[in-house]
Homo-oligomer: 384 residues x 2
């Protein structure tokens, strides 16, 4: 297999936009191509992630639409949808296109628009990522799913609501250093603890927001990337699945797909958790970050909440998690999230993250979760 | 790049079903795995095509759902959506996974369910594959798109409504020989010509039906496929795109994405149009078959209608097109169509197509189109 590198990244401001998801992606893509110092005409394929475009924009077939908006309508393009992990899935398949020798320069990204519909509607559309026959009829939307995960983790390990709140406080603090973040405002532990319950034990400030946004990255083969000083190499990328039904999972305090994908990605990269200097992971809810830090092997099972409270995952801590602010504070435009996480890690490994820079970061990891913990992708990146 | 072969195929009966798209896919997948003489546990990845699941079934994240229904919930899986070409796109990306050396056995397929909602609703959902900002508001549904294509072809080449009708008559005749086809009934030219206009000049019998169904194929690396006598090799597979907006296309009598994808696929395979013995192509409307036979280089531009009328594309003709009955008679469960076309070509190249067998077929081609002619995939297959 040929080696693959990221040579350009771009992300829109996350938040409310009055543009289509395709237009948001195109803005990010133009920035990513400029960052890569390549014209759009150099792109040989477009890998595009979008989730609820059919529902919120009445738009399917979003791959060629994104390519057309970007002005490269003849480039082969595919839309990938694995719920919130869609553009991370697009990334992994794009790596295979280059690895297989089919292309040398591939544009990857995603866009999503959800703030054009009421919150109750987007909550329903997001729930389409769970099983329509068995779980949707029970009213199991995603705050409910992660409330069950939280209760299981609390029961098994004694994890506290204060520990979950510490994740929110930390990610909001990180978000103040990211000019692209949806929220750039510090919050206190008290603010989180006093916010209303959305799905007990998860409160409003345990939940990431609904977000419009786009993100893009330019991937290149070794020949193209080698002369570029700022290239960041893909060391490993793996996907794993788990049962679609929450009721089929044996232990809700763990995300088995995270553990499987992490194991495969570490193996490909020849790295272990202790090699990782900086992480962007899927904190759709604060408990999701705690469970992910354990599943990725950064902390022992049950130690994730304690680590967050102790500051181990803060900038300056043992292993900074979500320096971008994460989904919680940066925002979560679902189809764009995986690509945005990769953009942040690439920025960190280049040493270009400004006030939120993790000093001396050489190896970074991204983790994106889709649906009822049924899809997870994990990728590892490094400087030479 | 490692060579890739198809070692198993399965297709459900096409028509109306009271099961989910995931269940329909699973039925086809069980048949495909039995055909490949492999247990489900041998599958290393699932590539899944589905288009309007969000709309008709309130189901996104259909990859892991399909894997769960099939009993292999931990297999990495991705949903692909490129409108009606979705499972052909899934197939092409799966070929790259094997070519890159990531996996040796990959299950590819798709499922779709649309007959659980009224026709007016599915027509609207299908239109989501065209641009939501500019074209959907004009009421441009797909019969309208292909009526414009037909008018352009008639104006440029003198193609007649009778020539289009000949495609319908031929494909319905082929469909009588396919026990899986939605319609297994011959029709006359008069029936087509007297049927009501849907979008002038296209009449009811120029249009393919709405269909529920599933299709699956098992792909394998050379090492796995080599000992298998019935393996059919992937000689080439290419995707091409074109402008999303119909108004941006210079000549509606041609499908540029077909021409580009065909050129790339022939080049990969080291074949020319005259080498092709049997074709499954995207006859969503009769005019689409005529334009595709020209775009694939089987006939000169403008000669497709004449060729159809003359019987060149009938079983026993110069180059039989859609021996399965095509989308027109076999049916068009959109997310499953690309995989179903490949299943037919593999069956033909194995010499196992029974009464609809194309004698001595050695090289076959599949062609699948998505949206307003904005996505096309072309693949070539051969026996050793």
């Amino acid at each position: 297999m040929r080696r693959v590198a990221v040579i350009g990244v771009g992300v829109t401001k996350f938040g409310k936009h009055d543009r289509t998801s395709g237009e948001l992606f195109a803005e990010a893509a133009v920035d990513a191509l400029a960052d890569a110092e390549l014209p759009p005409g150099a792109v040989q394929a477009l890998y595009y992630g979008n989730v609820v475009g059919g529902e919120t924009e009445h738009q399917l077939h979003t791959g060629p639409q994104a390519a057309s908006i970007l002005g490269i309508p003849t480039v082969p393009t595919t839309r990938f949808e694995t719920a919130c992990a869609s553009s991370h899935a697009a990334f992994r398949h794009a790596v295979m296109e280059i690895a297989a020798g089919v292309s040398d320069v591939v544009l990857v990204g995603g866009g999503e628009r959800v703030l054009n519909v009421p919150t109750a509607e987007s909550t329903e559309y997001f729930a389409y990522a769970s099983d329509a026959s068995w779980e949707q009829p029970l009213g199991l939307t995603f705050p409910g799913v992660f409330a069950l995960v939280a209760r299981a983790h609390m029961a098994k390990y004694g994890t506290t609501e204060e520990q979950m709140a510490a994740v929110a406080v930390k990610n909001h603090k990180h978000g103040t250093m990211n000019p692209k973040a949806q929220f750039q405002k510090e919050i206190t532990l008290e603010t989180v603890m006093k916010s209303p319950y959305v799905a007990d034990p998860l409160k409003l400030y345990d939940c990431c927001p609904f977000t419009d946004g786009g993100a893009a990255i330019v991937l290149a083969s070794e020949d193209v990337a080698r002369p570029r000083r700022r290239a960041v190499w893909v060391l490993g990328t793996a996907a794993a699945s788990d049962s679609m039904l929450l009721g089929d999972k044996k232990d809700l305090s763990r995300v088995m797909a995270t553990e499987r994908a992490a194991k495969a990605a570490y193996q490909q990269a020849g790295k272990s958790p202790s090699d990782v200097n900086v992480v962007e992971l899927h904190d759709c809810f604060t408990i999701a970050e705690i469970v992910a830090t354990e599943g990725l092997g950064l902390f022992e099972p049950g130690a994730g909440g304690i680590a967050a409270e102790r500051g181990d995952t803060s900038l300056g801590g043992k292993v900074p998690v979500n320096p971008s602010g994460g989904l919680k504070s940066k925002g979560h435009p679902i189809g764009a999230t995986g690509a945005a996480q990769i953009a942040e890690i690439v920025t960190q490994l280049r040493g270009e993250a400004g006030p939120r820079q993790v000093d001396g970061a050489r190896t970074g990891l991204t983790h994106t979760l889709g649906g009822n913990t049924a899809t997870v992708l994990v990728s590892l990146f490094g400087r030479e």
